[in-house]
Assembly symmetry: C2
Homo-oligomer: 271 residues x 2
């Protein structure tokens, strides 16, 4: 069954989610390879407008565990040497950053091993701002993916699928991390949604919050399935409100230190 | 005098280098802004092939001062917690990395302040492998730029101009840093060449060696002019041998820690 057939049946609501997953998974490696081809139309249609999807970050940037994610001290001072540079101490999962498969698996791909072809991808933006405004732990569900497909057509193999919850606008307020009583609370993906995306050979998911899973997750079901499955995630992205739902191409500037489980990244989109 | 006029005169060999600089500088801000427009044709013509211009790096990666540029220790261990992440210590100018204006000026733009539109740019590759094979301290000279223009046409405003010296292939050997007696020796840009590029409103330069200046530089003339001039550099790039002289678009994934003088970057080209 071809990719178009699978997605047509999604659009028509004729296929259960389980069937969708099974059918799309049968596409196998050929579909992954076709991710490159899928990216071409988006580039060809580009106006050249660059949208930065990366937050600037320092020691005050919120982190999942509450510990400052970066500190810096001068290694060379300008007034002494005529040039200057910092020595940085960075916990990998800080700022706008990558979760590589190795983050949640003993032997998955490290951040330097991510396939470069997957770092330039069609970007699909799922807007869940309405329900996130009602529930800080709102999740992307299969219905959101189906609605996106109905409105925009196929999710290309190799795509990056981003959750736009509106959370980036909360940066600098306590609400970015959670509730006034200190509980983590922010939107994320549901495992049912990421299982569907895995079946469609999506290469990566992105969130504008601190975690792929919602803040109230107890089991980190997305982290424990998506990442060991050989796919990667991007957390704390910015600027999704400046992008169309479909048609942008994302450049994912993942760091390339060997053996890394992820790390701060520069992420930009071209529209 | 319009940009095309300037470059026509370069092609015709009718213009001294000083006149070229003066004339092109008069273009001012309008030409910088047009860098965005210049990038469009390259994207539109893209086949979608991604070429990674970034070296993977660890504590053994050569650095200018010989001190390991990155070290890492586990912050969370997989066998104890079911997930894992590293605490990294990084000297900013390590691996494939950015030199921001702030690196060589007291108050220049920091790496997080680089203009996003300049991080996606037409890439011009100057091949000096022949003379670098004869002289490890070979430099890009104005003649190399003129030859490139004669063969390929205008250098677009906002472009990234890269020196391809063949040095990336020496990584892992002592020759990447210098001579057997310990002296630094590798190719770089001459100040005359970067003055010309500044006059053409080039946004960034890149080298496949440890420094924008050649290894035997005593005055760091390129660092001390190009960077305080509000432009940036990229050092230790890989993969230039896989690119055409003209026609590729480079995505410069600069890090975005606030106040940084530069830092490890993910650099990729689309052909």
């Amino acid at each position: 069954m071809c990719h178009a057939c699978v997605m047509d049946r999604v659009k028509q609501g004729m296929l259960s989610r389980r069937h969708l997953f099974t059918g799309a998974a049968a596409l196998g490696a050929a579909s992954v390879a076709s991710g490159l081809i899928s990216a071409r139309p988006a580039l060809a249609q580009s106006s050249g407008r660059v949208v930065d999807l990366t937050h600037a970050y320092d020691e005050t940037f919120p982190t999942f565990d509450g510990v400052p994610g970066i500190t810096k001290e001068w290694a060379v001072k300008f007034e002494e040497s005529g040039y200057q540079l910092w020595k940085l101490t960075i916990f990998e999962h800080t700022g706008t950053h990558i979760d590589a498969p190795l983050h949640f698996s003993a032997d998955g791909a490290s951040v330097d091993e991510l396939e470069p072809q997957q770092l330039m991808a069609p970007l699909c933006v799922l807007d869940i701002t309405a329900k996130a405004a009602q529930d800080p732990n709102a999740t992307v569900e299969p219905e959101d993916i189906e609605a996106w497909v109905s409105a925009n057509g196929d999710i290309p193999a190799g795509a990056c699928v981003a959750m736009h919850s509106g959370w980036a606008a909360k940066l600098g307020t306590p609400e970015f991390r959670g509730t006034p009583d200190g509980a983590l609370a922010f939107p994320g993906f549901s495992k049912a949604a990421t299982d569907m995306l895995a079946g469609l050979n999506v290469a990566s998911i992105a969130v504008d919050t601190l975690s792929l899973d919602p803040g109230n997750s107890q089991d980190f079901a997305v982290h424990f399935s998506w990442l060991p499955g050989g796919r990667f995630g991007i957390e704390c992205v910015a600027g999704l409100d400046q992008l169309p739902a479909a048609g942008a191409t994302v450049f994912i500037g993942a760091p390339k230190h060997t053996g890394g489980t992820g790390g701060p990244a520069r992420v930009m989109a071209v529209v």
